[in-house]
Amino acid sequence: MSSRPRGVKERVAEGIARRYRRERNFRLAGLGAVLVGMTFLGFFFYTLIGNGYTAFLQTHIRLDVELSADVIDPDGERDVQALGRADYQGVIRNALRARFPDVTSRNDLRELFALVSPGAGFELRSDVLSDPELVGEALSLWVVADDDVDMLIKGHIDRAADESQRRISDSQLGWIEQLEADGSVSRRFNHRFFTSGDSRDPEMAGIWSAVVGSFFMLLVTLALSFPIGVATAIYLEEFAPKNRWTDLIEVNINNLAAVPSIVFGLLGLALFINIFGLPRSAPVVGGLVLTLMTLPVVIIAARAALMSVPPSIREAALGVGASKMQTIFHHVMPLAMPGMLTGTIIGMARALGESAPLLMIGMVAFIVDVPESPLDPATALPVQVYLWADSPERAFVERTSAAILVLLAFLLVMNATAILLRKRYERRW
């Protein structure tokens, strides 16, 4: 009789160390899982920033450029058309030749000219066009270097490597070192990255056209998904009778929230482009597709916001004689608005990062011009990332990372706004 309880007690005591060990291991496994996620996040931002921050600086070369009047404007009339036609790349080449007078052979000259970006002439041209007074003067100009030079200066090309292993030849390296020696090479802020469109030359490529394309798209999405989403939420939450039909709508909304985004792209292609004949690659179509994608998010958030308004508000309004519509629009909606806006912003942030459906509707085109309306062909920021990630040039790697950083910054701002809005107007009833 007395031996059994002792036996149990001993067996329990024997097991305790093992059980505590398992407890500790389990707990460590949980901590490990959390750490895995965080480590990845850290590693991820570390590589992104490490790869990307150099793209905000761009190597420039100082040249003494002589804008002699008889090359640029032989007629001497300062006519805009004549100024526009002149050979500015030639002017820059002459400056390079003057800087290195001992380079004469054809091949050497070609290599020498390759130090400067093919886009440098265009920039000089727009400088002159905006200020025709420059003609006839000699300027000391910082011109954009070619992407290979840029990579060399940023240390992505190994100077000690064999000539056949790098994209910069020995003689080019020699010239660059001469330029470096007298301080004619410097890294300056890369404003082109923020102000110009896509380009085949990495040093001239920028994200502005993609940003504008994304902006137009989000505009369309916002203009459609907010009213439709809020209207749906109000109907389902306040008016809809509980029946099969509204059940069907609800199941539908929940399912749409989980349909793969690429399927929405197929819908956009088949419906908006093939049947309605809207233009391919246009932000309007992208906006429509993204509207359908974000609607479930907006609806679910708006319903939650409406639900959180206490019934006493409704009853009070109804009690003083407001109609149901007046109750909702004058009293319930203003109180639910912060929640609705928060949901909409989060939906917009998701729409901004979406790219798969845009590939389907042709927004992957190579777009140099900045779109001027939602009907112009355009690309979007995430799609630009996708396009650059596919480009073989080494210089596009840092640009891709930099574009991702810009995209993440936009997302951060949007989500932070949503959180602030929620914090600021959150009410406890």
Binding site: R19, G30, L41, A231, T232, P260, V263, L352, G353, L408
Partner: protein, 445 residues
């Protein structure tokens, strides 16, 4: 005009003194404005739908009889030429006189149509405005009518979701049916080789395209399987840790951090998988003497797994928190340690919810596109080796549809057949998952 209508209606009710109106002045304004805008708008939309067909018959009527005897498809080409000419696009071949005449007819018709519809719309708007304006009197129950209209608008908005689903299903289904007229569904579903190409000439090399989708399913399953192997343990364990062990400080820091993972765009993950993880795995494999393809299924799967960790963890977190505290207390009271409680009481109780969450995450993994487009291979490869390159359903949809398309070749239509399959699969997964989660929630409410 609508604004003017609002002002007019409002003024009419507001300035009439001495009598009390049924509704507030604003409602009379809205009433008149609605009457002014809605009929005109409806008419305009109707005309927009009818106009192209109408102009087409009128323009084609001017063409000579010989042209009209062409087949329907060729006639369509001619008509397209005319339209391109009008819009200043590139025309196929030199336009002849008849086409030019038809084009000028097209332009004039379009101008007449535009002018006409503007006039008619204005007229209808004014008439209905006048009619509604005359009706504004004290007895008119303007508020009820305006509110009724608004309710109809709200109801219409809520059907958008249904139309989207129907739209997706129909648009994908129709193209898929056209595909199945060319390729038998049996071959598509059970064929073992995938090389989507259609012959331009009969005797072309490799003219026989093969549309067997099994390698694609295998690839999709392989990659999402790897992803789930990463996401389920990590996600579940972090949910358990955060909801049962961590103190509130750790929670408030770690939870948003994990949610950041969900907010990162998929294209960014794709870039990361292709340019960082892929080469890393390759180097690592070389160190071990293994041949790892730089587009291996492992790389794409790992990164995809990281992406869906937050889905698994936040859904599991919800269900674990929904388990009633009494169950825990009961278990502790019997002397169980915390981990024993979790493993033997909480997890079994939360299992249906967790399974639902995992199914949702799986449907997301199957439908994920950008990561696999950027980091997985293009060639169909029937293998279970995670170190080789495989391709997935979504990758094939993208490669088939990006670039120039012709909507009659089996190649393009195959993408829609794949899309149909993807849609149906994920839909089924979602419905099952949502049902499981819902039933589970009801159990503890």
């Amino acid at each position: 005009m609508t604004v003017a209508a609002y002002v007019l209606g409002r003024r009419r009710s507001a300035t009439t003194t001495g009598v009390s109106f049924h509704s507030l002045p604003g409602y009379y304004g809205s009433y008149v404005a609605i009457w002014c805008a809605l009929p005109a708008l409806a008419l305009y939309c109707l005309w927009q739908l009818v106009e192209p067909g109408f102009i087409r018959t009128q323009v084609l009527a001017t063409l000579p009889a010989a042209t009209l005897e062409l087949s329907e498809a060729e006639l369509g080409l001619v008509y397209n030429d005319i339209r391109n000419l009008v819009e200043g696009n590139i025309v196929s071949g030199e336009p002849n006189d008849e086409i030019l005449a038809a084009a000028s007819r097209y332009t004039s018709l379009q101008r007449i149509s535009n002018l006409g519809i503007t006039l008619v719309v204005l007229l209808v708007g004014l008439t209905s405005l006048g009619w509604a304006f005359r009706r504004v009197e004290p007895g008119l129950r303007a508020r009820n009518k305006v509110e009724r209209t608004m309710e109809v608008v709200l109801m219409a908005a809520s059907t958008v979701a249904i139309f989207t689903t129907i739209g997706i299903f129909l648009s994908v289904l129709f193209e898929a049916l056209r595909f199945f007229q060319q390729v038998s569904p049996l071959e598509f579903l059970f064929g073992l080789s995938w090389s989507p190409q259609t012959a331009i000439r009969e005797d072309q090399v490799g003219s026989s395209g093969a549309f067997g989708a099994v390698p694609l399913f295998a690839g999709t399953l392989l990659i999402s399987g790897i992803a789930m192997l990463v996401a389920v343990p990590v996600g579940l364990m972090s949910a358990i840790y955060l909801s049962e062990y961590a103190n509130s400080q750790v929670r408030s820091f770690a939870k948003p951090m994990l949610e950041v993972l969900a907010g990162i765009p998929t294209v960014v993950y794709g870039y990361f998988a292709a340019l960082t993880v892929g080469p890393l795995l390759r180097q690592f494999g070389e160190g071990l003497g293994l041949g790892v393809s730089s587009e291996s299924a492992l790389g794409a799967g790992l990164v995809m797994g990281i992406m869906i960790i937050p889905f698994v963890s936040s859904l599991s977190d919800d269900v674990i928190n929904a388990v009633p505290q009494e169950l825990r207390d009961g278990s502790y009271g019997l002397g169980a340690t915390q981990s024993e409680t979790i493993r033997q009481v909480i997890l079994p109780a939360a299992l249906p919810g967790i399974v639902g969450g995992i199914l949702l995450a799986a449907s997301r993994a199957i439908g994920e596109t950008m990561i696999v487009v950027m980091a997985a291979g293009l060639a169909a490869n029937l293998t279970a080796n995670p170190l080789e390159a495989v391709t997935t359903v979504t990758v094939q949809i993208v490669t088939l549809l990006v670039g120039d398309q012709e909507f009659d070749s089996a190649k393009t239509l195959a993408a829609f057949a794949l899309g149909l399959l993807l849609f149906v699969t994920t839909l089924l997964l979602n419905i099952i998952a949502l049902r499981v989660v819902r039933r589970y929630r009801e159990q503890y409410e």
